[in-house]
């Protein structure tokens, strides 16, 4: 998709002014945070499992080449095929080639962030394929021609009234007098509409939460069952997954699964955790005849071994954005590309460049809540700071910020001069602010005083008062 990350500030302003969005965003807080906290409290080993999950991924990343090769061997042995693709374009081409070869017309899709990353839907539609997103949230945003605003709840930015309007607009064949104001009616209608599409699809495309090297298995974790219908009913199943999804064995996947759903939705385990290994076996009665894995690099090998390697542990649970005050304020679309929230603020500059996405790692208060809840213990603020360092080194940060910071640092590195200047500053501000105790406007502090008052200082600095106190105590002593 075309990025608007460079316009983050404008996007954010529009989002803050959008009352419908603000209403919808309230559900993020109520829908995720308490449930995760309860699930965590219920499993005493939760934090220890997070440590193990982190260690498993670190181990895998340190031996990524080995595990990828072993994974491929096992896929091949089970009758599937792995397509190694270096870039988004390569991955899209691999998918299209398969679709063409099998003469596909209808393609169903399970929810997959990687397919958003490579803009697969657009490419398939351009190639004349009838592409159907089958996850309810993805289906809704496909109707609206919007990108997802959350990595596990793609339509979280919408109210039920908006969904009702979309369904009425797009499902013209259904009676117009039908009741559609409640979520339960909307869900039933989507089920009805998508049922036919599942059955007529030629190709089903899913992502993968894990690839298991031990067995050549891909794992998807879903709640609706759409992913399973997508990958079971068509003749061909295509898995699109990036390199870092691999884990060594089933036990390792299991450990991470124990923290995944709890962190994501607060469920103990998602409704459907499905392990797929190759195409239909000769004696099987159902399942796809072909099984392909599009194994995508798209920048991951570059992140390995550098400042951003830890980001490759991410399992796309969404806990960081669920707990992010900035995400709550502006929603996912403001971030301007596929991955919103804290994980996006680290990942997006890696994938589309910091020149385009430079705002994202800056748009954080560093409150640390994302890192505190990350099941994989990814130090998200630390990596956002790495981006800020690179921007500073490359003089990408705004000139006003650089000048202000430079002036301040010049003073702060010279304590005597600093104390002289701050002493003078405190007195001046106190004189003007004394009567009211605060300012409602201050030159050079408009960003602050636009929305809030600025307190007047007490008058003298602590250092001045402390020196006075030391002096008077010394006098007191010498007098006695």
């Amino acid at each position: 998709m075309q990025s608007t990350s460079h316009a983050f500030k404008d996007n954010a302003r529009a989002a803050l002014a959008n009352q419908t969005l603000q209403k919808a965003m309230k559900h993020v807080k109520s829908g995720f945070i308490d449930k995760r906290a309860k699930a965590r409290a219920r499993l005493p080993e939760f934090d220890a499992l997070r440590d193990e999950a982190r260690d498993i991924k670190n181990h895998t990343l340190a031996n990524l080449d080995f595990y990828l090769e072993r994974y491929e061997e096992k896929v091949t042995a089970s009758g599937g095929e792995v397509h190694w693709t270096a870039t988004a374009e390569d991955a899209v081409k691999a998918v299209l080639d398969i679709c063409r070869r099998v003469d596909a017309k209808v393609v169903t899709k399970g929810k997959s962030m990687i397919s958003e990353e490579i803009a697969l839907n657009q490419a398939m539609e351009d190639a004349g394929l009838d592409v159907v997103e089958t996850d309810l949230g993805e289906y809704i945003i496909q109707l609206r021609k919007e990108p997802p605003s959350h990595i596990i709840a793609p339509a979280v930015h919408l109210t039920k009234e908006q969904v009702e309007a979309d369904f009425r607009h797009h499902h013209q064949e259904l009676p117009s007098e039908r009741q559609l104001s409640e979520p339960v009616q909307l869900v039933a209608e989507a089920r009805q509409m998508l049922r036919r599409r599942f059955l007529e699809a030629d190709v089903g495309i899913t992502g993968a939460n894990f690839l298991v090297a031990e067995t050549g298995t891909s794992i998807i974790v879903t709640n609706e069952g759409n992913g399973d219908l997508t990958q079971t009913l068509p003749r061909v199943h295509i898995v699109v997954a990036s390199l870092e999804k691999v884990v060594p064995n089933l036990e390792d996947a299991t450990t991470i699964l124990r923290v995944l759903a709890r962190s994501a939705t607060g469920q103990e385990f998602s409704s459907y955790t499905t392990l797929s290994t190759g195409p239909r076996r000769p004696e099987d009665l159902d399942g796809p005849e072909e099984y392909h894995v599009i194994l995508l690099d798209n920048g991951r090998s570059n992140m390995l071994g550098g400042d951003f390697q830890d980001m490759l542990r991410c399992i796309r649970c969404g806990a960081c954005m669920n707990h992010c005050p900035v995400y709550h304020a502006v929603g996912g679309h403001a971030y301007g590309w596929v991955y919103p929230g804290p994980m996006g603020s680290v990942l997006t500059p890696n994938l589309i460049g910091v020149d385009e996405a430079g705002h994202l790692p800056n748009a954080s208060t560093f409150c640390g809540r994302c890192e505190a809840v990350c099941p994989m213990r990814i130090p998200l603020p630390k990596m956002m700071r790495h981006w800020r360092e690179r921007e500073f080194e490359r003089h990408l940060s705004p000139p006003a910020v650089r000048i202000g910071l430079g002036l301040w640092a010049f003073l702060a590195r010279r304590p005597k001069l600093y104390h002289f200047v701050t002493g003078w500053q405190a007195r001046l501000l106190a004189r003007f602010g004394r009567a009211r105790g605060r300012f409602d406007a201050l030159p050079l502090a408009r960003g602050w005083t636009k929305h809030r008052d600025f307190p007047a200082p007490e008058g003298k600095t602590f250092q001045q008062l402390w020196a006075e106190r030391q002096e008077s105590q010394a006098k007191g002593k010498s007098a006695s």
Partner: protein, 259 residues
């Protein structure tokens, strides 16, 4: 100077120094009550966090070196701020990965550095304070203190020892106030949205006084409460613990001042 008393270097913090020195004196009083000898090195300015969070590593290192130098030899270094103490404890050692000698010095300082209230309770074993304060208060957990240093129960415990204090928790007391240092001026509209939600929660708590352990957050919340015309006084928790609430609250005029 009493024998055997730990020597504490007070890291004043740039905001307390400039804006609200009474917080510094409240800290001194509490530290002295906890049996410490307090000194204030003059060669300190700022911990360097503004530069650090702006990606300016060179200035951060320079300020860290200055701070490390200024606080050599103290048994403890205490700051009335979880954010600055967190900077020294958690981040200084990562600044010198290419300089083993400085790194060792940074780690040494990190090991001696504490946020004020947790120092009083966890290191000095303080369980009660001698203070008179009457009224309903609500406490905001500032992010760095909470998540980098685990400051949460300590201030509540000490506040609980003041007979007239009634602690009433706001919802989401552990959620960011939207200050974020330079964030609040770089992204003023987002910051405003967050501090609006925060002040909604503060006002809904019914408390007459808002307390926290970090002056940056306090100035942000006080400024918003005042802009909204809310009747909530805002103070650093040390002022209440040290029984030093004669000063007008943050952003309030001295008595006799007009609005």
């Amino acid at each position: 100077m009493a024998e055997g008393q730990p020597r504490v270097g007070l890291f004043v913090t740039c905001l307390v120094d400039l804006m609200r020195p009474s917080v510094g004196f409240a800290a001194v009083k509490l530290l002295e009550q906890a049996g410490c000898t307090v000194e204030v090195p003059q060669a300190q300015t700022c911990c360097g966090q503004p530069a650090y969070n702006s990606g300016d590593r060179a200035d951060t290192r320079a300020l860290a070196e200055q701070t490390i130098q200024a606080f050599k030899g103290f048994d403890y270094v205490v700051a009335p701020s979880g954010s600055c103490a967190g900077m020294i404890r958690e981040h200084y050692p990562t600044l010198f990965e290419d300089d083993p000698q400085m790194q060792a010095a940074a780690e040494d300082l990190a090991g001696r550095t504490y946020e004020l209230v947790s120092f009083l309770t966890d290191v000095r074993g303080m369980t009660t304070v001698d203070s008179r304060f009457e009224g309903k208060v609500t406490y905001h957990d500032s992010c760095a203190g909470l998540r980098e240093l685990g400051v949460q129960d300590q201030p509540r415990k000490l506040l609980g020892s003041i007979p007239g204090v009634e602690l009433t928790e706001m919802v989401e007391h552990d959620v960011c106030c939207g200050f974020g240092g330079a964030f609040c001026v770089k992204y003023p509209d987002i910051s405003n949205k967050i501090v609006t939600a925060k002040t909604d929660n503060i006002m809904a708590s019914g408390a007459g006084t808002l307390l926290a352990g970090d002056l940056g957050c306090l100035m942000n919340m006080a400024g918003k409460l005042q802009r909204r015309g809310a009747e909530v006084e805002v103070r650093h928790v040390a002022e209440v613990l040290a029984d030093m609430t004669d000063q007008p609250a943050i952003g309030e005029a001295a008595s006799g001042g007009s609005d």
